[in-house]
Subunit: 324 residues, 2 copies
Amino acid sequence: MKEISSLIAYRPDVKVVDATLRDGGLVNDFYFQDDFVKALYLANLRAGVDYMEFGYKASREIFDTEKFGKWKFCKDEDIRAIVGENATDLKIAVMADVGRCDYKTDIISRADSPIDLIRVATYLNTIPAAVDMIEDAVKKGYEVSCNIMAISNSREGDLKVALDILGQTPVDVFYIVDSYGAMYPEQIARLADLYLEVAAKYGKKVGIHAHNNQQLAFANTIEAVGDGVDWLDATYASMGRGAGNCAMELLLGFLRNPKYNVYPAIRFIDTYMSKLKEDGVVWGYDLPYLMTGLLNQHPRAAIQFTKEGRKDYTEFYREVVAQD
Amino acid sequence: MKEISSLIAYRPDVKVVDATLRDGGLVNDFYFQDDFVKALYLANLRAGVDYMEFGYKASREIFDTEKFGKWKFCKDEDIRAIVGENATDLKIAVMADVGRCDYKTDIISRADSPIDLIRVATYLNTIPAAVDMIEDAVKKGYEVSCNIMAISNSREGDLKVALDILGQTPVDVFYIVDSYGAMYPEQIARLADLYLEVAAKYGKKVGIHAHNNQQLAFANTIEAVGDGVDWLDATYASMGRGAGNCAMELLLGFLRNPKYNVYPAIRFIDTYMSKLKEDGVVWGYDLPYLMTGLLNQHPRAAIQFTKEGRKDYTEFYREVVAQD
């Protein structure tokens, strides 16, 4: 059983990362209004959030810039237009996907960029490419984290090898990523143990990025905090792909460090997130996401169901269970 | 850390209690159509649910029968009209509140009733009255559980005394009840320890009834299962007062006993629960419930906010924080 003190005191090493624009951008193809992004930046500042992820550094060779909003590409000048010199405590992050990013050219020296943290996202089978990206980003002066995605169907042995490889790079943080929203807190506890063991060996930190398919994104996040995980991803009103993420308002309400403040989060949701929902942007827990989560599948079938405005849950269940 | 076997195997002693009509009835004043109730009964049968709670045995002296649907009062004949002789494995439960129930007259001998289980609901300060109700129900032949409500702001010492008193009665099950949705899994683990210790001493079982104010109803329920709690309350689509309860569809998806089956639950929600929502019945996680949960308050202010169709979350936060 966890120490009672962990619910009363706090660990100063905990960092909250706002992933609203990045994971939420997967819902609306990154078409956020500038006033939304500016207000989000201010909300994060006021709420005491540590990092704000603006979106992806996606390749403009691979992705059509006409088909996505600008936060899919996160040009430094676009970030600068929101944050100016960012003379604040709030650090700026972007995500760079292995194989979908021209990092050698698109990520410039940190000294000339508003960005502080590069979040390298990889699958288990692309770890060597992730290592190259990590080394490139560290050389350019950035803080670097690495998200190993879709681990809920990976083998523990493979994961150990991957973490050991990453441990030998200059990466700062390993992330536990429950891409499918398939994991229970007990499983998170065991994964946290594994990640923290390797992290301790190499002097790294551990983070968590959860999805809400089974209404466990927040529960899994606070399970991880109790286990010693320090970097916590959250999004306002849970906005994120499919069932969404750990809700920022829940997380800020839970954390005991007085630097965090839930009121600006509620104000931001009241003014901006409710409007997005009214405008027809759809995300969050629903039966199809529960089903793909239960079955440990990628949520794409459920996302398609939602996009088509379907409501025939029973038929959907038959479809996903019948799949080979 | 919990045994990995607890996620792979199962405990045959686990019982699932469907509280949809009872806790959900608090949302729509117990006005459920007969076809809904009949379909719910069949869904429970098919899903392998162990107990179905029909509603309250409320006093017709205290409550106006014109102002509530029949499941507020749960006359034996009304239950019989749904279940007939109930020659099934699904047992029938009703709740009886201390001080709001004419149990001496309204609860007849089990031999003449379709009801199997009386769920006595009490606050800490009415334990002696609960004891009288428990003894009365056991004498009449019923299984009996006791829900001690609103424990999130009670003192541990008082709770221990209450459990010790209940342990000496013929009650079968003590329930952990997080009425305000204020508790985190770590706190549930500690409470489960306390309840289970007393339960072991007196040969009782322990149950949990959770609320979803912080999206933790399911998480708290599976935390409790992992700790050794056997009786689990859930409602279809989380229907219940305020933020609602642990979702039946999540719980059935989690439990490993092959007697449980999530498909009938999905079918019932698809056909019946979605319709209730379309008809304007409102429940479920929303910011005001998060706030009362965080502040460990009764959800009544949040329920009022929802009833009035208010959307000014920021103002609501100011109101509840400013309260003396």
